[in-house]
Amino acid sequence: MEVQDFYGKIRQLRLSAHRLVEGLYSGNYRSVFRGPGLEFDEVREYDPKDDARFIDWNVSSRLGSPYTKKFREERELSLQILVDVSPSLDSGTLEVNKREVVNILFANLVFAAIASEDRVGAVFFSDRIEQWVRPRKGKTHALSLIHDCLALRPEGRGSNLALALRSGHEALSRRGIVVILSDFKSSNFWRDLSLVARRHDVIAIRVHDQIDAEFPESGFVELVDPENGYALSAYGSSPQFRKQYHDFWALHRLHWKRECLRRGVRILEVGTQDDPAAKLLEYFNRRGRVP
């Protein structure tokens, strides 16, 4: 990608990220993520108002009077973003394709994380791990990450989410946040997702286009899947065909929602017709609760 374009794009993304960050600063970002938990900060003298459960018996016995533990929230978060760069995202029926939506979401998340002084890393995956960046802090790192995202040309043709989940899992030593940016046209990843979700906070952001739900009324055309060359004759003028198409993807979507929720994975769906930044903002404002 041209250097000019790159910085132009960054500027654009930064502007939208700012709005997001403002929203996030109002505390909602933190409210969504509990963080890895409360961290032991220091001890102080026991006050009758305090909760008796938190008395530190060791210190109390050594010092001869009751002392209670003081906790503070973990200030540092690690954000790991799993980015699907498989060819299935190169489709879209409007002015943007799904890949571009992913890019915008990625950039926004990166900027939001950096602005909150969190560490952020990424795993770019197709049917293999295309690139892996370990979580770090700082603006330079952010720009480098976003550059990687925009410039990446995948070598693989496939969506191996299971592999990405495993890599992401290993990369995060402490408890962190894992965001998955994908269209989830993958299978056999639920077990790995369960494992990750047990330890980390996971948000699954499904990027979709209206063609992932409905087939438009069109003439007869031959279709071919970008990832495995599977071919199909599509009779768009047939209501029967359109219904079959709709049912297939609707089933897949329902399955995805149910399985995610079962594992405590938060979900967000962003379409090519949506403003990605606005969607993110809306999501965090609602504290990650889907209406």
Partner: protein, 333 residues
């Protein structure tokens, strides 16, 4: 039999399976839109549309059919037929048939002399291939009905139309022979034969049979007098064509064998006695073997080109292909 004048085009037909493969099955083929249809290593979206799939298949086959037909047409298909061509002219045979009332005698039950004669003449004609044959009939008068010709269909049609007594109730045998001789004389054939079928007697006409027959050797005409009939009493049935009346009766002494024998003049003229239809057959066979010359024959191959039937078919299939694909199926790419 089918032949192809440019069979090399048929070899091109062998490329069609390859073309079909590339157009319909090759993994790298174009004119397909890229769209995600599957879950990686998981489910694939599949549909069942039997009617539309059939239309798809049918219209595609129309295209290939059209292409095949064009190749066939280019290969120059034609139907060949072999036709026998005769290189020498054959024997001229003039048949002289008695139509007098006595020929209605039923010597050959259930047929009359006349009917039996007609049957055996027709059989004889069927064996001819390039020998001109003519027909003279006589009653009160003698008339040439069919000139010497190889148009056997015409002869047969005319022979079947002949009726007893259409030329009157007399027997002008001499005139019959004379008329036949006159038309044989001007013919081109290398061998001239006259076959007279009669029950004898002469009671009309200006020329006596003896005189007429006497001229034949000098004209180079071999003649065969076939006496049809049996002596004694024979039932007779004849219908007069002009009045429409049918006469029934008995004929006695209506077979003049001796008279006919006297007209013979071997080796130019021979008398045969036909007292049954079986003997009629053998007489004609004998004439055949004596007179019919060998034919020099050549086989000619006729070619009927058929390409013009394939072309409109190809055009039709191409149109159908377009119609079904683009209009019914509304094909995009």
């Amino acid at each position: 039999m089918w032949t192809f004048s440019d069979p090399a085009y048929l070899l091109l037909l062998l490329t069609i399976p390859f073309l079909v493969f590339f157009r319909h099955f090759w993994k790298g083929r174009g004119s397909r839109l890229v769209l995600p249809l599957t879950l990686w290593e998981g489910q694939r979206f599949a549909t069942k549309n039997p009617y539309l799939s059939f239309l798809n298949f049918l219209s595609a086959s129309f295209f290939w059919l059209s292409l095949t037909l064009i190749l066939f047409a280019l290969a120059g298909p034609s139907l060949t037929r072999q036709k026998k061509i005769f290189l020498n002219s054959g024997t001229d045979v003039m048949i002289v048939l008695d139509e007098s009332p006595s020929m209605g005698a039923r010597d050959f039950p259930p047929q009359s002399r006349f009917e039996a004669a007609k049957v055996v003449i027709e059989r004889f004609i069927k064996s001819l291939q390039n020998d001109p044959v003519g027909l003279v009939t006589f009653g009160q008068d003698a008339v040439l009905n069919v000139p010497l010709t190889t148009d056997y269909r015409f002869f047969q049609t005319d022979l079947r139309k002949r009726k007893l007594m259409e030329l009157g109730d007399g027997t002008a045998l001499g005139m019959g022979i004379a008329v036949a001789a006159e038309h044989l004389r001007t013919a081109n054939g290398q061998n001239k034969v006259m076959i007279v079928l009669t029950d004898g007697d002469n009671n009309a006409g200006e020329i006596q049979p003896g005189t007429a027959v006497g001229l034949l050797p000098s004209l180079g005409i071999h003649y065969y007098l076939v006496g049809i009939g049996t002596p004694g009493k024979v039932p007779l049935e004849v219908t007069d064509p002009t009045s429409g009346l049918t006469y029934f009766g008995t004929l006695e002494g209506g077979f003049h064998e001796n008279y006919l024998k006297s007209l013979a003049n071997p080796p130019y003229g021979v008398y045969f006695s036909a007292n049954s239809s079986g003997s009629l057959d053998s007489i004609f066979q004998s004439i055949d073997s004596r007179e019919m010359v060998a034919h020099r024959v050549k086989l000619q191959v006729l070619n009927v080109p058929l390409y013009q039937d394939f072309v409109p078919l190809a055009l039709g299939f191409l149109t159908l292909f377009l119609l079904v694909r683009k209009v019914f199926l509304k094909e995009l790419l």
